[in-house]
């Protein structure tokens, strides 16, 4: 039985081209880019080149790219680094209830440090309301952090409207663009964000590398202490292999983004068509009209999600739900709780499927058929 991976929102396999780009770095480039000799210069050249490609991909100045160990670090740096550097301007931060834990837990830490944080509610479509945002703004607000695309539902946030709503206010706007970057063309010349986080392993690049875009003149404090790398904002000898792999992954995204958009749209339609054909009772979590095509989060009334995921795994289909709790069993997803409230079955019966570059239409349809078989069996068993 062929295993089918539909959990690309969690992580993605490495592209062959990415691996190929990394091997010469492993083999030949060991120099420290900060060193003042030919070995160091060679590494520095490669580093600069990668930084340029990555900056270009969002139309940014290459000086504004800070390489980090991934999006968790980028998000931490964005929130904690700017909050602390702008404390003289105010004490209030706005974010949303559905952010990734790398943002939420950083915000909670800032609360412990004496900042006030407003967590904007999420409507049933999976979005924040611009009015709520406007109402939450105060003279004391220094930072707003709203994710571009939610990782669990795939819902695209009204990021341009949010940016517009903030133009009057003197606040820093951060967006966690981890789930967006692979499919949405981002241009920081027109999109009025100040900080933007991206991760490599979500776009078929290696793990352990990401970046934070920081618009020029945004005050930010480094969160690690050490050398002067990344213009003193992130010390530590550069992860050269990771950065070069990331560069290649970014190149592939820029080249193929539109193609993948179309492909995943087709996958999603086919996936849902099989389920409808099989008369599976399901609902889509979030507004299907503003969703990236690679992610779909479905609620199956009457089905226990733990059982469903185990059965899917046994049948060779990898999908996921919410976040894993400490003993391995599943806690209700904070995103679905934010959308639908605590007391609905929907937070307990929803599963996320996310497509990727190695999937084929056949895989996707086969996965849907296996899923339908399981739902039928579990529904039968429930009524026994």
């Amino acid at each position: 039985m062929k295993a089918i991976y539909l959990d690309h929102a969690a992580t993605t396999p490495l592209s062959e081209e990415v691996l190929e780009a990394m091997i010469p770095i492993y083999n030949d480039i060991f120099g420290n880019p900060s060193s003042v000799h030919s070995f160091g210069r060679k590494a520095r050249q490669i580093l600069d080149n990668a930084r340029r490609t990555i900056a270009d991909s969002i139309h940014a100045n290459e000086k504004d790219i800070i390489f980090t160990s991934g999006a968790t670090e980028a998000n931490n740096l964005a929130l904690i680094g700017t909050a602390k550097a702008n404390r003289n301007k105010g004490n209030h931060i706005i974010t949303t209830e559905q952010e990734h834990h790398a943002v939420l837990h950083a915000a909670e830490y800032l609360e412990e440090e004496g900042f006030n944080v407003t967590y904007l509610p999420i409507n049933k479509d999976g979005k924040i309301s611009i009015n709520d945002l406007k109402n939450a703004l105060t003279d004391d607000t220094i930072l707003v952090s709203v994710m571009y695309v939610n990782n669990e539902t795939g819902v695209i946030q009204p990021i341009n409207e949010i940016a517009d709503a903030l133009t009057e206010a003197d606040v820093i706007f951060h967006t966690d663009a981890v789930q967006a970057f692979g499919l949405i063309d981002i241009n920081v010349e027109t999109l009025k964000v100040d900080l933007l986080s991206v991760s490599s392993h979500k776009i078929n690049g290696p793990k352990g590398i990401g970046f934070l875009y920081t618009r020029e003149n945004i005050p930010i404090y480094a969160q690690l202490y050490g050398g002067e790398q990344e213009r003193k904002r992130r010390p530590g000898t550069e992860n050269m292999v990771g950065i070069v792999g990331f560069q290649k992954a970014v190149e592939l995204v820029v080249k193929n983004r539109n193609l993948w958009q179309e492909q995943y749209k087709q996958y999603k339609e086919a996936f849902l068509a099989v389920l409808k054909n099989e008369k599976i009772n399901f609902e889509i979590n979030g507004d299907p009209k503003s969703m990236i095509p690679s992610t779909i989060n479905l609620s199956f009334p009457g089905i226990n999600v733990e059982k469903m995921l185990m059965n899917l795994d046994i049948e060779g289909v990898a999908a996921s739900s919410g976040s894993a709790c400490t003993a391995g069993s599943i806690d209700p997803s904070h995103v679905l709780v934010a959308m639908f409230g605590k007391d609905t079955e929907r937070t307990q019966n929803s599963i996320r499927f996310s497509f990727g570059i190695h999937n084929t239409l056949e895989d996707v349809e086969e996965a849907a058929r296996r899923l339908a078989k399981i739902v039928h069996r579990l529904t039968r068993n429930e009524s026994r």
Partner: protein
């Protein structure tokens, strides 16, 4: 030889202990398709976010990875609370000494977990219990584990043959020492992990402290059955029949023992001497009787019985009454039989079933002072 094992899916309950680890290993060696599942039944997360379930699940993960079998965790906290813990508290409130492991096996491991496993397409469920299943002319019997010291049929007395036909106990024919040996040979990470002791949700904690978090303790008087004042007790629920420790009665002569409880007046009855007459009874009334193979049970019969875990068998005569009750008469009088504990019946190596000890009698009269 035709081996069907690879097409037989066995879902094994894994606790993170050495027994279930080795049970999984044996099944894997026998060629079954094995899936390990950790049951999270209790949340004891402390203020540092540390929870024994997390550590135990981590051991399950490591063992399963050593065996190269898939593993999952299921959450039965709600079912456990509703079916096991509520019963546990109710029994203590009623002054009895409950046996939550018996109820956990009945309601969780061999019901909620079994259902879950069947929903995963399991042909069998397995556990690391020391007990055996034997098929005889279409009936499934439960036999004691070979290791007399570890035999756990006492705790499994509420199972039925419908359940047993879907159960495997890979350790039933083994000695604990062999199990440890196998674990060591295979370098299982749980090889030298300490056996869990006591009631699972209390773990290593102080029992009195634990119980006091859930039930208000009502201190009262300790008296002899003749009414002589002997001191104070901390709350009736902290004591069990036959208990010697923790009474704090000094003075000359033999040690003192708990012989009964008066719930209405909140008095703990104590008497002197291990062999004190008040500790002895000659029959009991058992309720909630379960027979593993009901068709074989006659109205009156003789067999052996255990009144507590790890006790030697005693010869008894069982007379069935209505409403799943039975009168159990002992050939020889028994010391310190405790209401709330299980009475479990055996015919040789076969476990017939069991029930809950409700009342205790001597010379056809109920011993009301026991409580």
């Amino acid at each position: 030889m035709v081996n069907d094992n690879q097409n037989t899916r066995v879902v094994i309950g894994m606790s993170g202990g050495v027994d279930s680890s080795v049970a999984a290993l044996l099944l894997k060696e026998q060629g079954y398709e094995v899936i390990g599942i950790f049951m999270k039944n209790w949340d004891d997360t402390d203020e540092f976010g540390v929870c024994t379930a997390t550590e135990d699940f981590d051991d399950v993960v490591r063992v399963c990875n050593q065996l190269d079998i898939p593993y999952y965790s299921v959450n039965f906290e709600k079912q456990y609370w509703d079916k096991v813990f509520t019963y546990f508290l109710d029994e203590y409130k009623a002054g009895r000494t409950p046996n939550p492991d018996v109820v956990c096996n009945k309601e969780i491991k061999f019901k909620a977990f079994l259902d879950h496993a069947l929903d995963l397409g399991a042909d069998y469920v397995a556990t690391g219990h020391y007990a055996q299943v034997r098929e005889r002319s279409g009936h499934y019997e439960m036999l004691r584990g070979i290791d007399e010291n570890k035999d756990q049929t006492y705790f499994l007395n509420q199972l039925t043959e419908d359940v047993l036909k879907r159960v495997m106990f890979p350790l039933g024919h083994m000695d604990k020492s062999e199990v440890r040996e196998i674990a060591k040979e295979h370098h299982l990470v749980t090889a030298s992990k300490k056996d869990s002791t006591g009631i699972c949700f209390i773990g290593e904690r102080n029992f009195k402290e634990f119980l006091s978090e859930y039930l208000p303790a009502q201190p009262g008087e300790m008296r002899t059955l003749n009414g002589e004042w002997k001191g104070r007790h901390d709350g009736l629920m902290y004591y069990t029949i036959g208990q010697r420790q923790g009474l704090g009665i000094g003075g000359p002569g033999d040690p003192w023992f708990v012989v009964g409880k008066n719930l209405d007046e909140n008095i703990l009855y104590v008497e002197q001497g291990f062999s004190n007459d008040y500790l002895y009874s000659d029959s009991l009334l058992a309720i909630d009787i379960n027979w593993i193979n009901p068709v074989r049970v006659e109205k009156t019969f003789t067999c052996t019985a255990k009144f507590r875990y790890r006790q030697k068998d005693s010869d008894v005569t069982v007379t069935l009454l209505e409403n799943n009750q039975a009168l159990v008469t002992f050939d020889e009088s028994q010391r310190a039989i405790t209401p709330g504990q299980a009475v479990v019946f055996y015919d040789g190596e076969v476990c017939l079933g069991g029930g809950t000890i409700d009342r205790i009698m001597k010379n056809d009269k109920p011993l009301d002072y026991v409580g």
